[in-house]
């Protein structure tokens, strides 16, 4: 028996790469590759274009552009199969290509992550199924950094909450199942939210399916024993905690995402903000002006391996400046030390050897200084501060009616639609809906300011439960609605200490630093499981303090609070066959708590500030010396604009 593997992120990307290349190899000769734009960035995370070329890819086209030419005999499509519109696009292009060129093409489509009945059917209707070789490419988790895995399904949020399409849940279950097959069962599954419940049920079902399949053959119950290396799985449904994503993120990475949009670890910025890539800083003012006219967009890779960036990304924006300053000072002093210290040739050689490292650091420093300057300039803008003020007041539980004037004025001054909707949604989610009169007022204002077509937008938001009228007509903050369908923020805020008044932004001592005072509910829930003592110490009254922490306890002693949060609560223990368990124990000996991994899965997306907060929690756990590791998995990384953007109607009258 092989020892159960640890979860290793590089291994996962390695496997994804191998699978892709093997599929490409099956098509003989040179070929043109057509990929979806959304998929291209994802692939870029683990495979280089030059590698693709080695495997016979001649040119790469984007599916959206529809500009494939007939230069090669083989055409390979690599497309996600869960949207029928994409599949249709593939079919159309195949037909078009067949009509326009004389060459007899050979088509191959690779569906990621799986071939579906519907995709087959669409191809059949288009009359091309017979001419196409179809493969499956199981692209599930993609590592974004060493502790973050993502399914990179961009539209999950819309799928799950607006169109109620369970595909992403199914894919998530698949991906987690693969995990289990490799590392053993999650000994315990904890979850919060209705969709989390659905996911858990799927996982259990898939497990029994595998057991049933294996029963006939030689029993390989090996896969079905509880894992030694994984402590537990915590599933958080996005639905449980909408407001956190909607709030303005205040970490460096979060702000970059809000302003420029990060996709697949690269951020696209106007080159004017970055300044000229080379050249002395004195000339930058003139050249920068020149580059504004060209207004090229510039892609910057945000690499977690870059020590500077990894220090910056989770920092609150208030401390980004000082950090950059410190690094700049250090670099300068190393440069200067060359003149003083480097006398002997040996020392000089030593210095020169390190020089590339310094240069890399220098250029990354320059990039981030420019980025940070731009970010800070934007955060000083009036709209930003006004909106932030409104958000923080509402989050802190101040009487939201006092914010009406602020919101109204922002609307009258034509702030971007997304910002306005976010404010209203935060308002609504925190106070369990708006009073009917206010609701109608704000709705009318939105329609007047942004156009009548947003009647559909508002309807979508209502369907997602983001912007609703309060039912029952309770007082502000009073517990309205049945337990379990809504979150009672007034109580939860107190019991879980969502608001921390004194935050130390430069040396954070609580996760609340990521929002400058508001601790994301989702991460607090994770803490409920992992850091019981810490939370208990925060609340003098709540919780039986002093219970030894450990996932063995599940939600205890916080069940009462957790119950007040929207959605179903999940707590499942998975055990394997007794014989197998015992056999494994004999082989491995007893492994202590140390080195176990806790997998946290965010269904429906996670925002960068939450990632920062979770990393903070992970560091704390490490500091306590129990050596638990945290692995964050998600369907995709989202921001507030993306959340409301899912609802926005784009056509106009």
């Amino acid at each position: 028996m092989v020892p159960q593997a640890q979860i290793n992120t590089t291994e996962i990307s390695e496997k994804a790469r191998r699978d892709l290349l093997r599929l490409l190899e099956t098509v003989r000769g040179k070929k043109n590759l057509v990929i979806q734009k959304a998929l291209a960035g994802t692939l870029g995370l683990f495979v280089k274009f030059s590698t693709l070329q080695e495997y016979g890819v001649d040119r790469v086209f984007f599916l959206e552009n529809g500009n494939i030419d007939s230069s090669q005999k083989n055409v390979v499509f690599l497309v996600r199969s869960n949207k029928s519109r994409d599949v249709q696009a593939v079919a159309d292009q195949i037909n078009q290509l067949r009509q326009n060129s004389q060459v007899q093409h050979e088509f191959t489509t690779i569906w990621a992550p799986r071939r579906t009945l519907i995709s087959d059917q669409i191809l059949e209707e288009a009359g091309v199924l017979g001419d196409v070789t179809v493969y499956e490419y199981q692209l599930l988790f993609v590592p974004l950094s060493e502790d973050v895995l993502s399914l990179e399904l961009d539209e999950t949020f819309e799928d799950i909450y607006l169109t109620k399409d369970p595909t992403s849940i199914f894919l998530a279950a698949k991906a987690l199942m693969k995990f289990q097959q490799k590392c053993g069962l999650f000994p315990r599954i904890l979850g919060k939210g209705d969709n989390a419940k659905r996911l858990t049920n799927l996982l259990i079902r898939m497990r029994s399916e595998i057991t049933a399949e294996d029963a006939g053959e030689s029993s390989s119950f090996l896969d079905l024993t509880p894992s030694q290396s994984i402590d537990s799985l915590i599933i958080i449904d996005r639905e449980v905690d909408f407001p956190t994503v909607l709030l303005q993120q205040l970490t460096y990475e979060g702000l970059l995402d809000e302003f420029f949009g990060i996709s697949s670890n690269t951020v696209e910025v106007d080159s004017a903000t970055i300044g000229p890539p080379t050249g002395p800083p004195q000339a930058s003012s003139s050249t920068a002006a020149a580059s504004t006219t060209r207004s090229l967009s510039h892609k910057i890779a945000l690499d977690g391996a870059d020590p500077l960036y990894s220090a910056l990304r989770d920092a609150n924006c208030a401390v980004v400046g000082p950090i950059l300053n410190k690094v700049a000072r250090r670099l300068q002093s190393t440069y200067e030390s060359r003149h003083k210290a480097a006398q002997s040739t040996a020392e000089l050689r030593d210095f020169v050897a390190k020089l590339p490292g310094y240069q890399a650091e220098h250029s990354s420093l320059k990039q981030h200084t420019n980025l940070a300057e731009d970010v800070i300039r934007r955060t000083r803008a009036e709209f930003f501060t006004r909106a932030l003020e409104v958000q923080q007041n509402i989050a802190a539980g101040a009487d939201p009616t006092s914010q009406h004037d602020n919101i109204e004025e922002l609307l009258a001054r034509d702030v971007p639609l997304e910002l306005a909707l976010r404010l209203l949604c935060i308002y609504s989610t925190f106070s369990n809906g708006l009073r009917t009169r206010d609701y109608d007022n704000f709705r009318r204002m939105i329609l007047h300011t942004y156009g009548q077509e947003h009647l559909l937008t508002l309807h979508n938001l209502e369907k997602m439960g983001l912007l609703v009228a309060r039912t029952g007509g309770g007082l502000v903050g009073a517990a309205a609605g049945p337990v379990g369908s809504t979150t009672n923020y007034t109580v939860v805020r107190k019991n879980l200490h969502l608001i921390v008044d004194e935050v130390n932004e430069s040396e954070p001592d609580d996760i609340a630093y990521v929002f400058s005072g508001y601790a994301p509910l989702s991460v607090r829930l994770v803490q409920c499981v992992l850091q019981k003592q810490y939370l208990a110490s925060l609340s003098a009254t709540g919780g039986a303090g002093g219970t030894p922490a450990g996932a063995g306890l599940g939600w205890r002693p916080f069940e009462d609070t957790v119950k007040l949060v929207r959605g179903a609560t999940v707590d499942e223990t998975q055990t394997g066959e007794e014989k197998a368990v015992r056999a494994r124990q004999m082989l491995n000996g007893s492994v202590g708590e140390a080195g176990k991994t806790v997998v946290v899965f965010f269904l429906g997306g996670v925002c960068r500030a939450e990632l920062a907060a979770l990393r903070f929690v992970a560091d704390k756990l490490k500091g306590q010396g129990r050596g638990k590791k945290l692995l964050i998995c998600t369907t995709n990384v989202i921001s507030g604009d993306a959340v409301v953007g899912a609802a926005v109607e784009h056509r106009t009258f």
């Binding site: 109204e408 004025e409 609307l411 009258a412 001054r413 034509d414 109608d440 709705r443 009318r444 204002m445 329609l447 007047h448 300011t449 942004y450 156009g451 009548q452 077509e453 009647l455 559909l456 309807h459 109607e649 056509r651 106009t652 009258f653």
Partner: protein, 116 residues
């Protein structure tokens, strides 16, 4: 009704759109829960009709704008009176004040700004 509304968005000609909107509004008028939507739909068709006539008087480009944007454009083009009339029933004073301010500043009509 949402279907009809999105159909109305898809069609290009104004009269057809008006028809669709009317159908949608009629569909909802029976039930009491949808009063807001019905009102919004009626406002939409009113706005569209208004925009059509504005297009004739002030030149093209009004159709498709939101109410506030219509007012803004109208004031910029010098139709302050007409804008006041159009806004009187629906837009709150504070919002209208902001629109006026922004539009007049954009027009560089400082005498009017002083009058505010």
């Amino acid at each position: 009704a949402n279907l009809l509304l999105s159909e109305a968005l898809d069609t290009q000609e104004t009269p057809k759109r008006l028809d669709k909107l009317k159908m949608a509004s009629k569909l909802l008028a029976d039930s009491r829960e949808n009063t807001f939507t019905v009102k919004a739909l009626d406002e939409t068709s009113k706005l569209l009709r208004e925009q059509e006539s504005l297009d004739k008087d002030f030149g093209p480009g009004f159709i498709g704008l939101s109410l506030n944007a219509t007012l803004y454009k109208l004031i910029r083009l010098g139709g302050l009176k007409r804008a006041t009339k159009l806004s009187s029933s629906t837009v709150s004073d504070r919002i209208f004040w902001w629109i006026k301010l922004r539009a007049l500043v954009a027009k560089r009509d400082w005498t009017e700004v002083e009058e505010l």
